[in-house]
């Protein structure tokens, strides 16, 4: 697309030219000041030397690793087996198997999570109305067998 030529008077042109002679170097120096600050400040480096610093490595708080149920010290979870996370999951990585407790109330039986198809999008966490699930900082999740990617997240039956 050709832009229409806007006629410009010589005095305006020279004014713009001189203005650019001043503003151009200033903007370049501003960019250079940023890179110089980065260059002389080794603390800003965020690269991790992974296998060597395995002991001290600390993941970022918002890192999304493997899905897990938030459990207290008695392995009790907050899940009510409502199934909203199952519906929210875009690639069906979550299966919630419901069961009935002694009182005949519908509770969580097994929280099945297929890590192999999970994309760590975090939609299930957003969908959960009770704040029962989160993604932990675990990232060494590779395994030699496919079966080990099908996880049962809850250790105990839900309380309803």
């Amino acid at each position: 697309m050709k832009q229409p030529e806007i006629p410009i008077s010589p005095s305006k042109y020279i004014k713009r030219y001189l203005k650019r002679c001043i503003t151009g170097p200033i903007s370049l120096l501003m960019g250079l000041s940023v890179t110089l600050r980065y260059f002389f400040n080794p603390k800003r480096i965020i690269t991790e030397q992974y296998p060597e610093n395995k002991k001290t490595l600390k993941m970022h708080p918002r890192y999304r690793g493997c899905l897990e149920l938030i459990e207290d010290e008695n392995d009790e979870n907050l899940c009510t087996a409502c199934g909203l996370c199952e519906k929210a999951c875009p690639n069906a990585s979550i299966n919630i198997l419901k069961t009935k407790n002694i009182a005949g109330k519908k509770v969580l039986g097994q929280y099945l999570f297929h890590l192999g198809s999970c994309t760590q999008c975090g939609l299930c966490i957003e969908a959960c109305p009770f704040g029962a699930i989160r993604m932990n900082q675990e990232f060494e999740l590779s395994s030699e067998s496919v079966d080990s990617f099908d996880l049962i997240l809850n250790k105990k039956e839900g309380r309803g």
Binding site: Y17, L36, Y38, I45, T47
Partner: protein, 356 residues
């Protein structure tokens, strides 16, 4: 250092040992060639390592860390990989010219390196027309890029070569004009004479000696030499994002390594040119205080020279990894509408400075 005009202990010793002057001259010439090759080829891997580290630290990374102590052996491994690769040309390429280009590209930096005075008596050849020679020889770089791009039988290579030809021919003018400014104020075109004209304290260097003009001339030299080096922000020839490497898209293995080597030797030669013309060459930065100056004078001149060259190279790297590439038309506008008029003005003001 070895030809009769430049006395040097090693050269004198060779001349003493070999009675026939012609043979002694040949032996000295051989030593010169080996020395220049050692300096150029030996420093290229160090520069590549430095570039990777500087670039990494600017981008908050660490750079190569695994091979050797903090990745020092990484570039050697890379060079080995390049040398053992199969060399082949694309079908339809002009084979002779295709393989000629990487050889021509190495001519200019080596010839310029022979002109550089590294110390009082450490210079291969003291030409009285040093600066015109440097400007003339730099044309080989453009030639290599043009024929390399043309012989590749690839539209990206050809586009890159054409763009780079236009760019380098344009920027050669301001490059030559700034060097002409230095020649004018120092009164000699020989690089040794230019260096010797800057003896004294740090304020006698051409960058500081002429009040504001020296610094402005240095900035002009810096800009036009980046374009001469074909480095970012003026890497129109390579333009990796648009042209997938420009003129050396089709090169691989040793031929590509030679283009890569030439880029870094060029970096050394242009940086040494900058330190010779503006930063006082091999003279230490004396500040006029007796106690400090005696210590500074104890350091040999070639170490001061190397320090200045490394500083210049670092400056080139900072610029490369900070600034964005201008469009082709913006690049041309910068040269013809800004640098060239400014350089002519600078030249006139320099003449006024000499007159008064």
């Amino acid at each position: 250092m070895m030809i009769p005009s430049v006395p040097h202990p090693l050269g004198d010793w060779v001349r003493q040992m070999i009675p026939i002057p012609e043979l002694a001259f040949l032996a000295n010439a051989l030593i010169c060639i080996i020395a220049i090759c050692a300096v150029a080829i030996g420093s290229a891997p160090i520069l590549i390592y430095m570039e990777r580290k500087v670039c990494a630290h600017i981008q908050c990374r660490l750079g190569p860390m695994r091979l050797g102590y903090r990745g020092t052996l990484q570039t050697i491994a890379d060079v080995m990989k390049l040398l053992f690769k199969e060399v082949y040309a694309p079908s339809g390429a002009d084979k002779f010219v295709f393989y000629l280009a990487p050889m021509i590209v190495l001519v200019a930096p080596f010839l310029v390196l022979a002109m550089i005075p590294f110390d009082h008596n450490l210079q291969v050849s003291n030409l009285s027309v040093g600066i015109p020679f440097v400007i003339a020889v730099n044309g080989f770089g453009i030639l290599a890029i043009l024929i390399g791009g043309w012989a590749s039988n690839n539209k990206y290579s050809l586009l890159g070569a054409l763009r780079s030809g236009a760019q380098m021919i344009s920027y050669e003018i301001s490059f030559a004009l700034v060097l002409l400014f230095v020649v004018m104020v120092s009164g000699s075109a020989s690089l040794m004479e230019i260096t010797l004209s800057q003896s004294g304290t740090i304020l006698d260097w051409w960058i500081f000696k002429i009040p504001v003009l020296g610094f402005l001339a240095f900035i002009m030299f810096f800009i036009s030499s980046i374009a001469e080096l074909n480095r970012a922000p003026f890497d129109i020839a390579e333009a990796e994002q648009e042209l997938t490497g420009g003129y050396h898209t089709e090169y691989n293995g040793t031929a590509f390594a030679m283009f890569y080597l030439a880029e870094y030797i060029n970096l050394i030669t242009i940086s040494s040119l900058a330190s010779t013309c503006f930063l006082g060459g091999f003279f230490p930065p004396l500040i006029g205080v007796e106690a400090v100056d005696t210590i500074l004078l104890k350091v040999p001149g070639f170490l001061w020279f190397a320090g200045k060259v490394v500083l210049m190279i670092w400056a080139y790297m900072m610029v490369r990894w900070t600034f964005v590439r201008p469009r082709v038309d913006q690049l041309m506008a910068l040269e013809w509408k800004f640098l060239l008029p400014f350089n002519l003005l600078l030249l006139a003001l320099g003449a006024v400075y000499i007159a008064f």
